[in-house]
């Protein structure tokens, strides 16, 4: 692994911030094990993003709409792509992150879109005090203030992601209700890892002849 200098922080993908905020292990599996699994929800999201990133005709000619815009932040070491960035006539820049599900206030998407706002501030040399999340499930745009505490959360999450990458060790599984709607559940095996007592018992019995089994054929 190449040594990384202090002035050159490891680039953290903006999507990883969202993954980490949802579940540290999910971020770890994607970053360290190159493991990504699709389910119906993620495929729906991918298809929706193809549409969003396709420049259609804009209904508001006075607003410039930039799609699939690559952004980064040198000092924070962030890099990623904004779904949609709106540039209004008064110069206001507004990142709009599209999510196929419904919106959870204070949830992982907030961190991701706030990070986009911080990247855009540097790239476009302007203040971005507001960001938005468009939730496809409720067909609504939710705006949020990119305030100091959210900015702090972005920095802390980026540091945490960087620590996972540096340690090369997967964070422990959540093994809670998050796992039920996680597309990576099968590969992660949260229940098996969380219940190691059962695993250890089976391991200890490996060389003892097991009970005569029933064959149901």
């Amino acid at each position: 692994m190449t040594a990384v200098g202090a002035e050159d922080p490891w680039p953290v993908p903006l999507s990883a911030l969202e993954h980490y905020a949802y579940c540290p292990r999910q971020a770890g599996l994607i970053l360290l094990e190159d493991a990504y699994a699709d389910d119906a929800a993620t495929v729906r999201g991918t298809l929706a993003h193809h549409r969003i990133h396709d420049p259609g005709h804009d209904k508001r000619p006075q607003v410039r709409t930039l799609r699939a815009l690559p952004v980064w932040h040198d000092e924070l070491g962030l890099t990623g792509v904004c779904d949609v960035v709106e540039v209004h006539p008064d110069g206001t820049v507004l990142p709009v992150e599209h999510k196929s599900g419904s919106y959870t206030p204070g949830g992982p998407a907030d961190v991701q879109v706030a990070a986009q706002a911080m990247c855009l501030e540097q790239r476009m040399d302007t203040a971005v005090p507001t960001a938005a999340i468009y939730a496809m499930a409720d067909r609504r745009r939710h705006t949020l203030a990119v305030d100091a505490s959210l900015r702090e959360r972005v920095c802390a999450t980026a540091e945490a992601v960087r620590a996972v990458m540096a340690r090369e060790e997967l964070p422990a599984p959540a093994a809670d209700q998050r796992c039920r709607r996680c597309s990576m559940n099968t590969g992660c095996m949260p229940k098996v890892l969380a219940g190691t007592r059962r695993y250890n018992r089976l391991l200890a019995e490996l060389y003892t002849p097991s009970h005569e089994t029933d064959w149901d054929d």
């Binding site: 997967l170 095996m189 890892l193 490996l206 002849p209 064959w215």
Partner: protein, 341 residues
Amino acid sequence: MTELLNTLYVQTPGASLHLDGDAVRIALPDGGGPRRTLPLLRLESIVLLGNISVSAPLLSRCADDGRAVVWMSRGGRFRCRLDGPTRGNVLLRHAQHLAHADPVVRLPIARACVAGKIQNCRQVVLKGARDAGDTKDALRGIAADLEDSLAAAGAAEDLDVLMGVEGAAARSYFEALAMMIRKDSGLSFPGRIKRPPTDGVNALLSFLYGLVRSSVHGACEQVGLDPYVGFLHGIRPGKPALALDLMEEFRPAIADRLALTLINRRQVSADDFEQLEGGAVQLTEDGRKTVLTAWQQHRQKERPHPVLGRRVAHGLVPFVQSRLMARTLREELPGYLPWTV
């Protein structure tokens, strides 16, 4: 991979496969039979037995989707496999190589593979004893021998000893297998003969082992393991040693049990085999069709999985076991636990 997808087996000589939108179109020689297309979405892999051609667009589509295309000889011997790019799980592969190089890590995994095989062999023999007439005591005796082998595997202090234990267990297990084949089936088992098989039972076993091996190999690849770096079977160029390690536990409970069922229920009989010049024996085309149909049904059947605590289809067990192996190598689990029935 939560859905058990199908595998398309094609064995009609001269057939060709083409990409048709999001489907595969199968063209039979001389344009015979109805037009057949299958949606690719439902296919996990495509297995070609013998002389079948595949169009380049279909191959590249399968590579894009990560759908394996496997070529086998008509006898079911594995020839090659086309897959998408190697998964980028380099930390897992690195851990696997380090584990292979460290006897302290390697030996327990190799032992576990042997233990899983012997446990499942014993269960197959016990089931045979339950159904047997005059061979009941002999089968019970072999089951007891296998218990001794199991303990010996647990105590083996190096790989040579372990391989010896495994070999001895296999010999007595195959003796039991011979007893479990009904006299009126028209087939008998002279002991394991491979490369090539010279009788029907061995031809059937080799064919089924080939099917198991290709599914285990695919599961290793999908999880990101290197199928060629094993613990029991070590490394030798061209030998998928990890796939062979992992398939040990599946041979008795999945392949041998299916072979016994097919023979004893006379779904497969002496007519389903042909002898080639020189003495090698292989399944006939009809025989292969019977076996593949039964194999597809067998893959759908579920058994309780001791580690997961729920029922898992036979066809998905190799994926579960590859993941347990991966988690063991990444030191997230304290050791590898084979699948025992």
